[in-house]
Symmetry: none
Subunit: 209 residues, 4 copies
């Protein structure tokens, strides 16, 4: 399929609305109006609303992991350093693609569109394999404890980040951070998430205090 700027425009508008109102509550009309395109164009371009969602998943999950792949091969980094980079990579992407991550979160719960189920499963497998490789490497080098429940550990990383994305506003209120701009708040949350999750991973993976 040829992807024109108009395709991107529609996809991003759809993403915004899906994240805000959910897939079902977003009408094709909403998307068309918000994106400033003709209503029929969406079916014309993507075939259907469901297919639009699938394209969105492809669009967002297409080119991930290049940097991570290289990271793994880099022998000059210690295992824990690699893990830390992975954590930061995930936080960065989750925050950058907040909307899409929210959509993914819901879609994982709902489980309806088989295509998306498949894409999600692929992502999960990929994620698990990467961290598994990393951990096994660390264990081989004696840097990490064994055994490690990889999925559980990954759940902590992904779950903590998701939960913080969901509770951004609540976090601001509870910690009385009203004077921060959205960008500042986001940066703060990223920093704190990073430190926090790294500490957690260290506790699970290493013997250091």
């Amino acid at each position: 399929m040829v992807i024109s700027p108009k395709h991107i425009q529609i996809l991003e508008t759809a993403e915004k609305l899906f994240a805000a109102k959910g897939f079902e509550c977003t009408t094709v009309r909403d998307i068309a109006e918000e994106a400033g395109v003709n209503l029929a164009m969406i079916s014309y371009y993507f075939g259907s609303k469901a297919k639009l969602m699938e394209y969105l998943f492809e669009h967002r999950t297409g080119n991930i992991g290049m940097r991570v792949e290289n990271l793994l091969k880099n022998d000059s980094l210690a295992p824990m350093e690699k893990v830390e980079l992975l954590i930061d990579e995930h936080i960065e992407r989750a925050v950058q693609q907040q909307r899409f991550h929210k959509i993914m979160l819901c879609e994982q719960v709902i489980n309806k569109n088989p295509v998306i189920i498949k894409v999600l499963r692929k992502i999960k497998i990929r994620n698990t394999q990467i961290i598994e490789t990393l951990i096994k490497d660390g264990q081989k080098k004696g840097a990490f404890k064994k055994p490690v429940d990889v999925v559980l550990l990954l759940s902590t990383m992904i779950g903590t980040v998701n939960q913080m994305l969901i509770n951004k506003t609540y976090y601001r209120d509870f910690n009385k951070l009203d004077d921060l701009t959205d960008e500042q708040l986001q940066a703060l949350i990223k920093k704190r998430l990073s430190n926090h999750i790294k500490k957690l991973f260290k506790a699970i993976l290493t013997n250091e205090p």
Copy 2:
């Protein structure tokens, strides 16, 4: 409002379907058929589909925390023991009420029904306050480090559990646990979640290795 057995029956059917297909994709007809009641009865009992959801939230969040309240007052327990009880309490409830927790998770993302937003906010505040009290107590007794980012810590507990609920099937596949019954798998996940999260909390709260 009087709650008859039929009310409960409808509520639980609705919960099941909402968790499986999402609120929007579940039609009132679905619920009526699955619950074996007349279509009109749902409006008759609950007023509307949206109200039904609200009643579900009330029904499920109504009487939580009695045990936790008592726990907090018990002076014979060490701070970390209290925290551990809290963790187990949460895991127990989340697994027991998996469906409802999935619904809550989605609703937090979507943010549509104001009544539910309010209920969710109340729950969050309650949860944060409980753990905050616990932590401050531990800090006063010198058992816990300071400072502690309460919301971040809570996000780890809730996020990890949610993520594991979502990935139950994936967890079985990845760890090759096909010979376990659903109950056994569930018990295993509960156990592992408990150990895992306790370890994480210890790493954040205490100085012990």
Copy 3:
């Protein structure tokens, strides 16, 4: 059919609501709640909502005209005096039974329930006959001109009164009568209607200026 006080109560509540919101927009539930009776009682008492309306028509149109019949026989009154009494009689009843008159007005337009069509027709015939008799008597006595279009004349009386009932509030506003109570306004309108219509009738029926 036995008419108990509860019947009356329901009928009058129904009348009030039918006049305010129309027959279709008034639900049986509305009537039951407003009347403080059980919902099922209305069907139980009257059979159906349509039948309730029919009973209302019977109830309100049952015992009219006794006074008028006597009036006609009274030989001590001049023809015009009789007509004037008739006019006042009509105004009095229309104002007293405003709600019912509004209902009748709508029902005449809508034409749906055959029973009510019949009742309305009977009333019309009766009214026309009475005034026709009166006019013929006046013509015989040389007091009234001939010919007279009875239905047209009646239309003026009934139409003017109806229109004023409908426009009560507008009449108050336009004539800046805000300081009057509802009762005072009503009395004023009755008085003015009476004078006005009598003048009109005189112009049509007699030769006097």
Copy 4:
């Protein structure tokens, strides 16, 4: 809003059915079938059934009064001549737009849709102002008596015409006019209404016999 021939077609079908069965008793399906258009098209074109009614009111009340405005300015006409033209104008329009006038009559009684209440009020104010201006002019020229109750006088005109519209069939029966076609009957009624109302107005406004 763009008004296509199909809009008009739907509006006129709706008008016909509203006049015959009332707004509430007319279903959108009725209108769609009678107009030979798709059911969804009515919402598509007008938004809702209520809005359709509002458009009908706008459509019918939009361009009234041009002729009347000019009439008022014409100095070659005597005050009573102007009044007579006004009466004929009203009769003509009421008979021409019988259906709509019936709808208006009912809507004035029921008072539900705020938009329509507003339109009706505007019409009433306009009507009253026109006739008030006419009458004041006549009074200044010494042609008319004073004082005159404008709303009462208007009620006679409008009420009489309405009542005759409602009772057309009855009028035919009572006066044994079965051999007349509908058009002939209508013409007769218009003629008689005109003479009748003019006579009434003369009686109220002037001193002549």
